[in-house]
Structure formats: C-alpha cells, structure tokens
Symmetry: C2
Subunit: 159 residues, 2 copies
C-alpha cells in the first residue's frame, strides 16, 4: 500500500470497506446501547456508567481502587469520584481505607448493592441475548474473535 497515494491521491476513498464496517459497528453499538440505557432508566432508575461501575465491583469481591476503576472504565478519576459518590449516597457501594496507603480507597458493593446488581444483571443479560438472538453460536464466536483482534490492535496503537 502506498502512503503517498493515500495522502495526496485524487481517489476519494481507497478503503470504503473499512469505513463501511466502522459505520455499521457504530450503528449497532448505538442501537443496543440506547435500548440498554432506556431499560436501565425505566426499570431501575439508573444509568449505564453506574451499572458499569457496579459490574466492575461485582467481579472484585474484595473491592477495587478508584484508580483501577478509572483505568478500566476509561474515564478520568474525577468522574469516578462523582459516580461513586452517587452510589454511596444510595447505599449501593462503600469506600474502605486501604492498609498501607492512606491516599487510596477500595470501593466495593454493599450487600444491598450486590442484591440490586444481581437483579439488574439478570435483566441486562436478557436484553443482550435478545439483541444477538439472530446469531448462532458460531457467528457469536466469530464476531468475538475478530473483535478481539481489533481490540488488541487498537489498545496497542493508542499512546
């Protein structure tokens, strides 16, 4: 492939397949995400970031540091503070001091938070299963594998 041609060539688009794929990927994600947000709002009066934060904690029974939450959720730590504050106010998560590092907190689900998350997760799974109901097991595995390549490559090339 000729970089010069890409930069200065007259052809308007030499890789329409990649572009088309991106637009379709974006559309699919937005459609499903919109449904999930709408359901979370209607059935549990919560939002996707709050659900995502609880989902992270569900897999960390001993709690997770704010910094780690920030990294995994790909948002700045100031925003983690805000979302955590909301969940603490609702009694769904709690901050715990960290032995040996008085700057940091471990955040974990309260028993009430765990119960509510389980309810939400069960519903959430049904919405997602429904969204992909048109695909067979093989299709799902293929999609998963190919997106894995994209994910790794994108994470590598991000500075």
């Amino acid at each position: 492939m000729d970089l010069e041609a890409r930069l200065h060539g007259a052809a308007p688009s030499e890789h329409p397949e990649a572009l088309r794929l991106w637009l379709r990927l974006l559309t699919c994600t937005q459609l499903i995400e919109k449904q999930v947000r709408s359901h979370l709002r209607a059935q549990f009066d919560t939002t996707l970031p709050r659900f995502d934060l609880m989902a992270q904690l569900e897999r960390a029974p001993d709690g997770m540091k704010m910094k780690e939450l920030s990294r995994r959720m790909m948002v700045t730590s100031g925003n983690i503070t805000g979302i955590t504050d909301q969940l603490v106010a609702e009694g769904l998560v709690e901050r715990m001091d960290v032995q040996g590092d008085r700057r940091a907190y471990l955040v974990r689900l309260t028993p009430q938070g765990r119960t509510q998350f389980n309810d939400m997760a069960r519903q959430h799974e049904q919405w997602i299963v429904e969204a992909f109901a048109t695909l067979g097991e093989r299709d799902i595995a293929t999609l998963y594998r190919l997106l894995g390549k994209v994910k790794e490559h994108t994470q590598e090339t991000a500075e």
Copy 2:
C-alpha cells in the same frame, strides 16, 4: 430454550457468550470513537456529531430535511436544530426553503463546508483504516456481514 429457566433459574448466567460479545463490541467502539473524537478536536476543532451531520449532507448534494437528519442520526429534532445552528454560524452548511412546504428546510453543505468536509473525511478514513489494519479483507467482510444481521434484527425489534 426455556424461558422459565432464564427468568427464574438459579444459574447466574446461561448465555455468557452473548454478554462477553457485547462487552467486547462496546469496548472496541469506545476505543475507536475516543480516538476519532480526539483527532477531530485536535486537528479540526470539531466534534463527532458535527462531523456526522456533514457526512450525511455530503451524500445529499441537493440537501436533506431536518427531519431526515434527525431520523438518520437517531437523535431528536431539537438537537438537529442546535448542531445545524452551529454549522451555519461557521458557514459550513446552509438552510434552504423547500418548494411547496413552508414548514420545512433543506440543509446542505456550502462550498466551504464541502471543502472542509473533504479534508476531514480523508483524515478520518486513515484513522479508521489504521484501526482495522489488523484485519484482512475477508475478516472485514465477515464482520460487516454479521453486524448487518445484528443491525437489522435490532432495528426490527425496536418499537
């Protein structure tokens, strides 16, 4: 598949494949979207919705109604008014009266808007090609096909 078992069964997750696929789809989209937003901001001082609106107009040389933009971009018409206002203020798009319907406008790119969009689109394509550079032509075609099934199914089941 037994709906009862899904609703009331003790198993915490009977379809982990669909869930894992959704999380990966979400991650990939967010990673790429974040890069695109960042590049658009740094190189062109613009945003993704503004770029998307111009991309819609680029394929409609005679202009497109606000209503149609609203439908295609999957946001309410009030938001189309706002984004259009910004682009009009920058001289990139213009509203034109519609023959025979004085309620409506046709929005189209100005010559300046078309020039700027072409610059952006060329860069944008490179970012996207890079994001999917790890995939071969066949992989891209497969992803495109499978996501097409998901898209159609999701659009059908949305009320």
